[in-house]
Amino acid sequence: MTALDARSETALLPPRFAGTRRFVRAFLHRPSGVAGLAVLAFCTILALVAPLFIGPDQLDVTRVNGPLLAPPSAHYPLGTDQAGRSVLMLLIWGSRESLRVGVIATLLTMVIGTAIGIVAGHYGGIVGRLLMHVTDWFIALPGMPLAISLAAVLGQGETSITVAIAVTSWTATARLVRAQTLAVEARPFVERSRALGAGHTQIMLRQVLPNVMPLILVSSTLTIAGAMLSEATLTFLGLGDPTSVTWGEMLNQAFFGGAFTDDAWWYILPPGLAILIVVLGFTLVGRAVEYVLNPRMEKRP
């Protein structure tokens, strides 16, 4: 035993993050996932560096001096809107808020849904049944009217839209996570954990959560897509802040500003296409993550 003591303790520990490294390696073998990730990375970087070349000169309606609703040209690659702003600049700037709302709403959805799902699945009995009744009640409420009412109550703007989306989306995650929690807790290793002395919190956090995580990860990539679409819908319907720039807001301005009747396709198509591409990126990443984390993969030699 002395030889063991002589070595430093860290030499005895297994390498850290081995699981994460394996995941990354496996993910990089999926071309569709890598493509999706590339798209998302591009959009994110673009959104982050936007303030470097987009400022009030491009966005403030009173400061721009471009032609009004002009088709694409050399100077304005995607044309201009009714106020003379470059549609391309608007598109890039709009990605910031659109992505922000999508990501934050999804984060909220996942946290609420997972928490409720795991607790409901673990505890069962009265607590579980109660939580599930609450969930079912929320499912029964029609999503879009609820979101509209919430946004109307909370006032127009980014925050209310984020909250509205989160409140209407968490139920799907909760049901999914609860079902998976029940499945995981039926497996012998949870019983072993109990026999070793684990309490409720420890079981939920250390046994159930890591095994539910793959499902949550996949679900969240798809939820983001849904959240961004919801954001676009809500802002299109006019519930967003008219002075802010998001892709849905652009569609709103395009529609109500008469771009459809003016055949100003350069104003209508880009926001929709941008949403499509980002959603596609998330979906591809989600599918690749699902494939990599598939439990069947764990059985491979």
Binding site: M1, E191, R192, A198, P301
Partner: protein, 357 residues
């Protein structure tokens, strides 16, 4: 039954002293009935003792309650009646006390692949117990030591692996290492080798014996396999439908069985003799929601079926209940016991004391 003086000849192996490591007194576990069905009497009155350094085999078929009994011993199931005693003290089911108890009595399950969290590597799986009990000082040494003691040498080769990269035998060793990391004094193993390959079975059983010899570990091994009892157990208890029907030293019960159920179980083990005639019991064991009256074995009992009318009337197996067998151990003065109304009269040379209803 109070502890009595022990004739040396009847002393079971293990340390001196009357206090068994683990004891169960008149244990009852009843699952409430659902949707109008009657309650299931999974464990219907059991006395059992496991002494220090002793390996006791609990043998029975499915539905007899052996798994429930094993889990009650580990504190995972709360009995509806009776007591579980550790070193003489009844179990306290409050959170903290129960957690402390876990350090002394550990569980090894049947399916080692399922018993390990697929997201945890071997190091974390073995370290889980000590971490839960905040015994993290020198944790790497503890983990390596447990792995080595469980036969996974060198431990460095295994700590980074994940369960699906191990064979069934190796997985079971990891589970055992995880139990050893808490330094328990008793291991309760529920079918530890049933889902392992035949050639690996012997290695795991040998490990249990080595742990007994090297660390003084006591063990209760639950199984359907009488051969396992012959391989590693000092004493064996045979369960049927929630009760122990016979128990005693392995040589006694397996070579000179008294209870008709034990005899039938032994007779159906494939034998090399050409004149082998197994006693096939009719039907299957009834489930615990419908326990037959009187002796619960009588509907399938070959002795009852062969008994004459007057013998039946005298024994009344279908009406008279049998008492719960006392715990068999040196301290109680009872070395072997079988619960049956129709026990054959003993040969005069039998040295053991038997309980008859």
């Amino acid at each position: 039954m109070s502890a009595e003086e022990t004739p040396a000849a009847l002393a079971s192996p293990g340390g001196p002293g009357d206090v068994p490591e683990l004891e169960v007194r008149d244990l009852h576990v009843v699952y409430p009935g659902r949707r109008g069905r009657s309650p299931a009497r999974a464990v219907d009155g059991v006395n059992l003792r496991i002494g220090r350094g002793e390996i006791v085999a609990l043998i029975g078929e499915s539905g007899c309650g052996k798994s429930t009994l094993a889990r009650a011993l580990v504190g995972l199931i709360r009995p509806t009646g009776g007591q579980v005693l550790y070193q003489g003290t009844p179990l306290d089911y409050s959170g903290r006390a129960l957690k402390r108890y876990r350090r002394h009595v550990q569980l090894v399950l049947q399916d080692p692949g399922g018993a390990l969290n697929p997201k945890q590597n071997v190091y974390d799986a073995v370290a889980e117990g000590p971490r839960l009990h905040r015994l993290t000082e020198g944790l790497p040494q503890t983990v390596h030591g447990s792995l080595a003691r469980a036969g996974l040498r060198p431990p460095e080769d295994f700590v980074a692996r994940y369960p699906h990269e191990l064979s069934g035998g190796q997985q079971q060793r990891v589970v055992i290492a995880g139990a050893l990391a808490l330094n328990p004094s008793v291991l309760v193993a529920d079918e530890p080798v049933a889902s392992l390959d035949a050639s690996v079975r012997g290695e795991i059983l040998r490990l249990l014996l080595d742990l007994r010899d090297g660390l003084g570990l006591s063990a209760l091994v639950v199984s359907h396999d009488l051969g396992l009892a012959w391989n590693i157990a000092d004493r064996v208890a045979v369960m049927y439908l929630g009760r122990v029907v016979e128990q005693g030293p392995v040589e006694q019960v397996l070579l000179r069985p008294r209870h008709p159920y034990t005899q039938a179980l032994l007779s159906v083990l494939p034998d090399a003799r050409p004149d082998w005639r197994p006693t096939l019991l009719a039907g299957e064991p009834p489930d615990p929601t419908a326990v037959p009256p009187g002796c619960r074995f009588h509907p399938r009992c070959p002795r009852w079926a062969a008994a004459t009318g007057e013998r039946r009337a005298a024994a009344a197996c279908d009406r008279r209940e049998l008492p719960v067998l006392p715990a068999v151990a040196a301290a109680t003065g009872v070395a072997a016991a079988a619960a049956c109304h129709l026990l054959e009269p003993m040969e005069p040379s039998e040295p053991t004391i038997l309980e008859n209803a």
